[in-house]
Amino acid sequence: MFKYLLRKLLLVLPLLIGVVTLVFFLIELSPGDVADKFFTPETTPEVRQQIIAKYGLDKPAWFRYLLLIKNLAVLEFGTSIAHGRDVTTLIWEYLPNTLLLSSVTLLVIYPVGIALGTFQGVRQGSLFDSTASVVSLFFYSMPSFWLALMLQLYFSYRFDLLPTSGMHDPVEYDYMTRPEQIVDTLKHIILPGVAMGVASAAGAARYMRSSILEVIRQDFVRTARAKGLPESTVIRKHVIRNAMLPIVTLLGLSLPFLFSGSVLIEIVFAWPGMGRLIVNSIFSQDTPVVIGCFFVFTLMVVIGNLIADISYALVDPRIKYD
């Protein structure tokens, strides 16, 4: 297991270099550059040159690339050209908001999906199973931005049950007590959380259902029933535990999503998260921020994979890594 992990960790380095190189040159190849936002028709060529030189954009691409790699080697992400601030500071401003939204989604929505899939699997062919299948397929296929707009239209505008956007009440928040502030934030999470999580929950339900159906036909389940165990115990101890294995992998692979956020949801719900930060940075060709974000995401993908591998081995004694 240790050797396996070491091997995996050693693979991170070329992967990170590959991702950073790809992202750097993709931005480099696209027309225009981040300094464009400083220019107006009144900007004289001399000033233009001064600004370009100030941000080091007058240096050749290979030179800036080597400088970038050198800085990344000491985990120095540099300064955002568009915002004029440290990339690390920027990421720390936006990351907690994304973590909050995605962890609520994962913690609340996934269990719902898993429970739904379990009931469907256990009651295969019932009216409940067919209805739930249609409903989960419906939500699985629905574009999240459209669902987001519909949720806003009905739950916020028509029925006025929940806030439309933002992370908290813009006017009253400053005058609330701490518990009131937490409740207020939770109220603001519901709609974006649902919009972001429904498709994942529907996906998890589909996975769980087929996994249950596979396990429930196994010999050891028949044996458990034959030896007289109550049906609830058979399902709980033998079926669900074994059926959870693919779901554990799914959860591990969802870890990067915890950090990257969902661009469309963050834009529609005015949620200041990583998705918005990275998309705005890509549009303004702010290379240091884009590289910084992708660096973090890549690390998360690797760590997520590792966690999935480890938990797989932990929950399934048959699996051993050499």
Binding site: S30, V47, Q50, Q152, Y175, R178
Partner: protein, 576 residues
């Protein structure tokens, strides 16, 4: 993640901003209610020499006390603020200012002439690389400004030019606190903490900033300026909401009080369903045009360009693209790049070329373009009049306009292929002149300097704005007054000796009433040449809750003079 961790996240998330409102601050005058404004993008930096975003400029207008304030009535009118008076020298090259002596920063330090000098020092410093450096391009080194004493200073210019522009150049950078920023590393000024938590000398102060979420302004209770500048509102909150549909829902729910750029198709419904909203038209700061690249042989003949304009039914396009459901048109025909808002300068006598398909075809025929092979496309010397009309993506109005144009020109026997490019690529292609025809737009400035768009694109000769205009022949030498300038925003490579002469003459004429006829003649000359097909100037519709009074929504800003905004006691919505 367990529940306590989640609670911790709940506590951290969204609270990474600066200090909150000073709830316990003692009110020194009466204020009431809160104004909530939706903005598309967040603030970036509040040091005016390096700030960039629209939100930055809105906030700077509220927290800094302007050297000279302005209002707009056909042209920028200057009104006293920090400077109580200003006078030009006889030759128009020096402006002397007298400052108030009762304005202080929040910490009690007096605002003096040295703070103004400090701001301009920063703009000039190459280490700062300020995008505002064009404000000091005609400054005399060491005398821009020359501080006489704490309340008197002089701005010295290399030469006299349009006085409105000169006044704008000396008031564009407000006084900045030298005692706080004097020691700052200028090369990393944009990273200085002051940019996120500035010290105010104006009516409002920045109370809180939550990145990507909201910006809270509250009255600066230490404001020592004139009473009429004291805010009447408890707070102004700018909410960052990037998506139009979300802003619209928030507006209709009443959770925001002001929204910019309401789409024309929503105007009638909002007026009908929400009588509490006032819908204010704000014109005319932006225009659309079709640029004909005159480096391309197809568009070198003025007859062809005029024919292409006459083939387009611009009024019909406006009735389809700039119109509310009830048929109200939110725009007017454009005949140039000088906004009609500058009513003394805009040439109202220019009659737009009429839509006349037959005349358009006749003009094309005169220029040698006829359909010799009967395939529906006119041709000349074996080449068909067929080109690509490029526009930027993300602008539905221009995308629809491109289709209309394609259809109109087809009727005149001209084949148009439409190409939509990402904005970055599109604008880079325009600057490099790597396109055939382009559908694009300009935002209008409020003082006149057509040189950036219309001066011959590469000029080797007398700098039109330089000191000595007597220099005889510049063709071989490059000196202080003889320079090579590239006007890369002259996207179409428009080259007219008459226009160049008028531009240079206009820029050298300091008194606006004397330069106006020159600018009007210039507009006529350019319109005759049709380097663009000028399409329209657009209104912007701003929706604002009608409980607010003394709102300044005009061509200068969508929400200016926030200190004037007030709510009558019986209409207050938020107690705090």
């Amino acid at each position: 993640m367990r529940i306590p961790a989640l609670l911790a996240l709940l506590a951290i998330a969204g609270c990474s901003g600066d200090s909150g409102p000073s709830q316990d601050a003692e009110k020194k005058w009466e204020t009431r209610d809160t104004l909530v404004i939706a903005v598309q993008e967040d603030m970036d930096n509040l040091i005016p020499v390096v700030s960039q975003s629209a939100a930055d400029s809105y906030i700077e207008g509220a927290i800094y006390f302007p050297t000279i304030d302005s209002e707009f009535d056909c042209s920028l009118k200057k009104i006293p603020a920090l400077a109580t008076e200003w006078n030009w020298s006889d030759d128009g090259t020096v402006i002397s200012l007298t400052l108030r002596d009762d304005i202080s920063w929040e910490d009690g330090t007096k605002v003096t002439a040295n703070d103004i000098l400090f701001g301009y020092d920063l703009v000039r410093d190459p280490a700062v690389a300020s995008p505002r450096i064009s404000y000091v391009q005609h400054a005399i080194e060491g005398k821009f400004p020359l501080v006489v004493d704490d309340t008197h200073l002089e701005f010295h210019f290399t030469h006299a030019y349009d006085r409105d522009t000169q006044a704008a150049h000396i008031s564009a950078i407000p006084a900045l606190p030298k005692h706080l920023l004097g020691e700052a590393d200028r090369a990393s000024l944009r990273k200085h903490a002051f940019g996120k938590s500035p010290m105010s000398a104006g009516p409002f102060r920045l109370a809180a900033h939550e990145p990507g979420q909201r910006i809270v302004l509250e009255p600066n209770w230490n404001f020592t300026g004139p009473e009429e500048y004291r805010p009447k509102l408890n707070r102004v909150i700018l909410r960052v909401i990037p998506e139009y549909a979300t802003r619209l829902i928030e507006l209709e729910k009443g959770t925001i009080d002001l929204m910019q750029s309401v789409q024309f198709e929503d105007v009638d419904r909002l007026a009908k369903e929400h009588p509490n909203l006032r819908l204010v038209r704000r014109g005319w700061r932006s225009m659309d045009y079709v640029a004909w690249n005159q480096q391309n042989d197809l568009f070198k003949d003025v007859k062809v360009r005029r024919a292409l304009t006459m083939a387009m039914d611009v009024d019909h396009m406006m009735s389809q693209l700039l119109t509310s459901d009830s048929g109200e048109v939110y725009g007017r025909r454009s005949v140039g790049t000088i906004t009609p808002a500058l009513c003394g300068v805009h040439n109202d006598d220019i009659q737009p070329l009429p839509h006349n398909l037959e005349q358009a075809k006749a003009l094309l025929a005169e220029a040698g373009w006829t359909d010799t092979n009967g395939n529906g496309v006119v041709d000349k010397d074996g080449q068909e009049l067929s080109f690509t009309l490029t526009t930027n993506n993300g602008n539905p109005r221009r995308a629809k306009a491109a289709v209309f144009i394609q259809d109109y020109l087809k009727q005149a026997g001209v084949e148009v292929k439409i190409e939509t490019l990402a904005a970055n690529t599109f604008f880079e292609n325009l600057r490099k002149k790597d396109y055939q025809a382009a559908l694009s737009g300009w935002s209008a400035g409020l003082f006149v300097d057509p040189s950036t768009i219309w001066h011959s694109d590469v000029t080797k000769g007398v700098d039109p704005q330089a000191v000595n205009h007597e220099t005889p022949n510049c063709s071989d030498t490059v000196t202080d007054n003889c320079v090579e300038r590239r006007y890369e925003f002259n996207f179409v490579s428009y080259n007219s000796a008459k226009a160049d002469e008028l531009i240079e003459q206009g820029l050298r004429t300091p008194v606006p009433s004397e330069s106006a006829p020159i600018w009007q003649e210039l507009q006529q000359v350019i319109y005759e040449d049709q380097p663009y097909t000028f399409l329209w100037w657009m209104d912007e519709v701003i929706a604002v809750d009608s409980r607010f009074e003394n709102t300044s929504i005009d061509v200068l800003a969508p929400f200016g003079n926030l200190h004037d905004w007030s709510v009558p006691a019986d209409k207050v919505k938020y107690e705090r």
